[in-house]
């Protein structure tokens, strides 16, 4: 099993109460704003603590309330790409990527950074600062930084939402490519129907802190599009 979670968290009147599991595949957390998608990622990463439940990944227990286990975010070894303000502005592209690699010799670090720069098509940008590169390039650096340490899972919090359409398509292609290289569970949070439909192996639909549907994109958007999906789609198209 790639990743298995059961999470309960109450924050200022909002209750997140979800349970799901995925294989080493790309799962989409799909839903409207404020449905608890990003909070789920923060709980999995260890940036927030659930009030009950568990988080397990390929035999590792990151959190288990009943057993009193709560591994720190530093020790969970999860790649996390945030929506915006994603790169360290005081470091170069190379520095940002290298920051994702701990406990490696200088030689090993240099080799791994070189490999990631090639894999993410960032040649020529190594010594530039984040303010000198485009939005798409920034996201590629963020992905390279998150993946250089070979994480156990990759968490993506609407990473492409600030990009224009051609760049989003390019990033989607890149994400599909790197999934071949890194066989790990990837969780992509989005409220973009096209992204949810085209990218995921599995779609988990959130509404008001709960999982209301689960299935393949075809099942979710064609075969059994329920009222919740209709509502989210109506809201997305009206924006």
């Amino acid at each position: 099993m790639g990743l298995s979670v059961r999470l309960l968290k109450k924050v200022k009147g909002f209750v997140l109460d979800v349970e799901w599991e995925i294989e080493d595949e790309l799962a989409i957390l799909f839903g409207g704003s404020g449905s608890g998608k990003s909070m789920t990622l923060q709980l999995i990463a260890g940036l927030m603590e659930p009030e009950a439940g568990f988080i397990r990944s390929n035999g590792n227990v990151f959190f288990d309330k009943a057993a009193g286990i709560n591994i720190s975010p530093q020790e969970r070894s999860l790649g996390y790409v945030f929506q915006d303000r994603i790169l360290f502005p005081h470091m170069t592209v190379r520095g940002n990527i290298a920051y994702g690699l701990k406990n490696a010799s200088r030689f090993e670090k240099e080799e791994r950074v070189k490999k990631m720069i090639k894999l993410f098509h960032l040649q020529g940008l190594e010594e530039m600062s984040p303010s000198e590169i485009s939005g798409g390039q920034k996201q590629r650096v963020a992905l390279a930084r998150a993946l250089i340490g070979r994480p156990k899972a990759l968490l993506l919090d609407e990473p492409f939402s600030a990009l224009d359409n051609p760049l989003r398509l390019e990033m989607r292609r890149l994400l599909q490519e790197i999934r071949v290289e890194f066989q790990i569970p990837v969780i992509l949070v989005t409220h973009d129907v096209f992204e949810a439909y085209t990218m995921g192996n599995q779609v988990i639909v959130y509404s008001d802190g709960k999982v209301v549907e689960r299935g393949t994109p075809g099942e979710i958007f064609h075969l059994r599009a329920g009222l919740e999906i209709e509502k989210i789609l109506a809201f997305s198209s009206s924006k």
Binding site: Q42, A45, G46, L47, S72, P73, Q74, E75, R76, S77, L78, G79, Y80, F82, D84, R85, I86, F88, P89, H90, Y99, G100, K102, R145, A146, G149
Partner: protein, 196 residues
């Protein structure tokens, strides 16, 4: 010390946090003579700390240049803490969280992410608090006196020259002080404007 206290206040939630903030900020709003009075109570020969120091070493800080330094430090510290705390609080939490998820400890993150990104605010705080320390008068007079050649700081000298009618020396010092203070403010503003 200012950076350490500011970091604690900006990033941690603990019991008594507001009280600690008030304690460190108090010299900013108290009349300097009151701050000086507290320092006498603490560091005077019969004071809480001063007595211990005197019993151990046979030495008292009172009416030495160390006392002038201590007075300047205490009145300037709140400016350093306030400015640095604001700078640390302005660092994007996502960047700090990103560092944690990349495996870096809080200490490493503070050294390599938080403090470098708050650098301009910290420098502005250092410049402002240095300017405030140079201009300290009341608390210094209370615990260091105004001993010529020993504890007569520039503000105390200006007061002494003006009192004795030596206006030419007072004028030179006042002009020098005004220019220096203006320069410090200009530098602090430049740093503040460069905060991201």
């Amino acid at each position: 010390m200012g950076v350490a206290v500011a970091y604690l206040l900006a990033t941690k939630d603990f019991k008594g946090k507001e009280l600690l903030d008030v304690l460190f900020t108090l010299p900013l709003v108290l009349p300097p003579t009151v701050t000086g009075y507290y320092l006498i109570i603490l560091f005077g020969r019969n004071g809480f700390m001063g007595k211990l120091i005197y019993e151990w070493t046979g030495w008292s800080i009172m009416f030495t240049w160390y006392a002038a330094t201590l007075a300047s430090f205490v009145v300037a510290l709140p400016l350093m803490i306030k400015t640095t705390r604001a700078a640390i609080e302005s660092v994007d939490k996502n960047l700090i969280n990103a560092s944690y998820t990349l495996g870096h400890s809080e200490f490493e993150t503070a050294l390599r992410v938080t403090l470098p990104l708050a650098k301009m605010g910290i420098l502005a705080g250092a410049v402002l608090s240095f300017a405030r320390a140079m201009g300290e008068f009341g608390a210094t007079l209370m615990i260091a006196g105004n001993i010529p050649g020993k504890t007569d700081t520039m503000p105390l000298s200006i007061y002494a020259h003006a009192s004795s009618g030596d206006w030419s020396k007072a004028n030179v010092m006042v002009i020098f002080f005004s220019l220096m203070s203006g320069l410090f403010l200009y530098i602090a503003n430049r740093f503040t404007k460069r905060i991201i």
